[in-house]
Symmetry: C2
């Protein structure tokens, strides 16, 4: 089993670009990743690509070969779809393939075009990540689902809207120096509390935006990186995946994410680390409550205590374990299929000292990326470590 | 690296079942596969699932966890989408994962619900496997695309509609004893030639039908099968994948499938066999011309000579290398996401002596399954061998 290195990362700006196709977005992200990596396109042996709603937003399925073409790569390509965890799943298979010697060099990433559908259209399209027969037909959309989860959390453990507002404030603050972020804009707690309700108890500032964008990573085996003198100081040392019942009503607890716990435990075990070793993390904060649940599932906070983490400064940029230094989905944006691989890209740059927020984690050696699908019916976690 | 065994296979009937959801179909196929395997559901470590058009046909994405649930399995699940090669790609990743020790037991398969869309609706949905911007908007659908390929073949190598009719006649003949086949019905060459034109030069009998259905396989490591005394006489010994430009107009030749050639060469090399070792094959005959192109890409026929293979009896049930003894997509049916894994299931039964057509390949030890997406912009090939 060989080590897996991240040789290069590339992201488009995340934001409103309704006129751009996913192939256009992925061409930009992959070009940036190749330029960053120093790896020639000809060495790529496979393309693994995540996309969620291309069938609805672009009337385009079978995006694997299309994205290989957009990236200027002649290699077999596969599309992975796991709702908002689509490119996280692509990264997971990519890591397993490189680790096991199937390939020396892979291009992995994702893209999503969403804003061309408009807010109502995109919200409806996103709902296909829930159970159509038992949830969506009853009127459930994701703001409503996460509102149920937030309410269940408050009922079981306490906490309230102001605690969640601190998550939003923190992530907006983190996004300020991130030029690729959708919102480079500070917000205040009072502003968040005064924002229009999306689905009670969640307001507009508890929700991530709709975004267009793409992400790409060039992964290589350790042996390839050494043989070709590729500068790739960060390794992916752990990968894990978890699953849960699809519909919320089939779960024992609404305020828990067992799929994320399963993925985290598997990834930690795979890397041979514990939660206490984590120096920095990007977690899937599609809603502020999702960040709280993720912290607890990853054992970065005890169950029932994650709600105060941002408010009390345990996850802010100046804390021991900053969370979502990129700005998170909340402020950086969430082009669904691109998100999982983009989180890996952020952690790589944070650990390599090339992120605009690297100053906050100068001694960090271990990072985690957590990517979730739907109401966390799917989750994948990756551990990244400085290798050189 | 451990060997990979097929411990059990399960298929629903393929055909018109517009009232059945994909979860209903997959529950049936997976139950059959578990019953056939003797492997308990609790031992499954991952579910890998192929589906193509669930977003359009059922307004349901994120089908991975939904299908784990339908199968009664608590394990992380991933959905693969590569148009008509969706479950072939799922099998490929499943093989790599078991081979490399990531998992001992996986459930892999696929499902598609199509006929609820009606003929025009399903044809339009299928078109998302082509290039939306450069092909579909210009009016191209798959009957038209394969008609272009057939015409190019006739122009370059000769042959004609009557040759293709023999492919259809052969595959209908093969389907007669296959109780899961959509058409258990003989046809005559004259009948095929008289059938209404779908897209010249292709007529109705050159095209596979629209179908609903599901397929499932229980794969285990060799070590698991031995330790648990599982009867699994057939091994998957080779896997390969190929890719090509998405749009037909970007290819050098219309009457070639380089992606299938790449996949076949890789799979043969992986298994350490040559085309001459193949005793039986299931190939992706979404149209009769596709079977011809597949035979040539897999080196089972020289380039330019595959067109006469059925007519001259080189691929019929009584030949040395029968092709599509299941009836193929043409007569067995083509529930898109289910097809790739179902082809593996057919080859397994043919090699194990449990297929209604096994008598035609009594001494066969090596089989091949070829699954293609779109106009073969994606292809995957698997080699199966009798191991015990």
């Amino acid at each position: 089993m060989t080590g897996v290195r991240v040789a290069g990362t590339g992201l488009t700006p995340f934001g409103n670009a309704p006129e751009r196709t996913s192939r256009d977005l992925f061409a930009e992200a992959s070009s940036a990743a190749f330029a960053d990596s120093g790896v020639p396109r000809e060495d790529v042996e496979a393309v693994l690509y995540g996309n969620f709603m291309g069938e609805l937003a672009e009337h385009q399925g079978h995006q694997g070969p299309l994205m290989a073409e957009a990236a200027g790569v002649q290699a077999p390509a596969t599309r992975y779809e796991s709702a908002c965890a689509s490119s996280g799943m692509a990264v997971r298979d990519a890591v397993m393939r490189v680790r096991n010697g199937e390939h020396d060099v892979v291009l992995v990433g994702g893209a999503e075009r969403m804003t061309n559908l408009g807010t109502a259209g995109a919200t409806e399209a996103l709902a296909i990540a829930a159970d159509e027969l038992w949830e969506v037909r009853a009127g459930m959309t994701f703001p409503g689902a996460y509102a149920l989860m937030a309410k269940a959390y408050f009922d079981e453990f306490g906490g309230g809207r102001e605690d969640l507002a601190h998550v939003a404030v923190k992530n907006h603050e983190n996004a300020l120096p991130n030029e690729k972020a959708q919102y480079q804009k500070s917000i205040e707690v009072a502003e968040a509390l005064d924002a229009p309700t999306v689905s009670s108890p969640l307001s507009l500032y508890d929700a991530c935006p709709l975004s267009d964008g793409a992400s790409a990573l060039v992964l290589t085996s350790e042996a390839y990186a050494e043989a070709h003198d590729i500068d790739a100081p960060v390794a992916i040392t752990g990968t894990g995946q978890g699953g849960d019942r699809m519909a919320l009503h089939d779960r024992e607890f609404l305020a828990r994410s067992p799929a994320a716990r399963e993925a985290g435990e598997a990834a930690y075990a795979d890397a041979g680390i514990g939660a206490g070793d984590v120096d920095v993390a990007e977690v899937h904060d599609c809603f502020t409550i999702a960040e709280v649940l993720a912290l607890e599932a990853l054992d970065l906070e005890p169950v029932g205590e994650g709600i105060t983490a941002a408010r009390d400064g345990r996850t802010t940029a100046d804390s021991d374990t900053p969370i979502n230094l990129s700005g998170g989905l909340k402020a950086k944006g969430h082009p669904v299929g691109a998100t999982g691989a983009s989180q890996i890209a952020e952690v790589v740059k944070l650990l390599a000292g090339t992120h605009p927020n690297s100053e906050h984690v100068a001694d960090a050696t271990t990072g985690v990326a957590h990517n979730a699908g739907g109401t966390v019916a799917s989750a994948t976690v990756h551990v990244l470590e400085v290798a050189e």
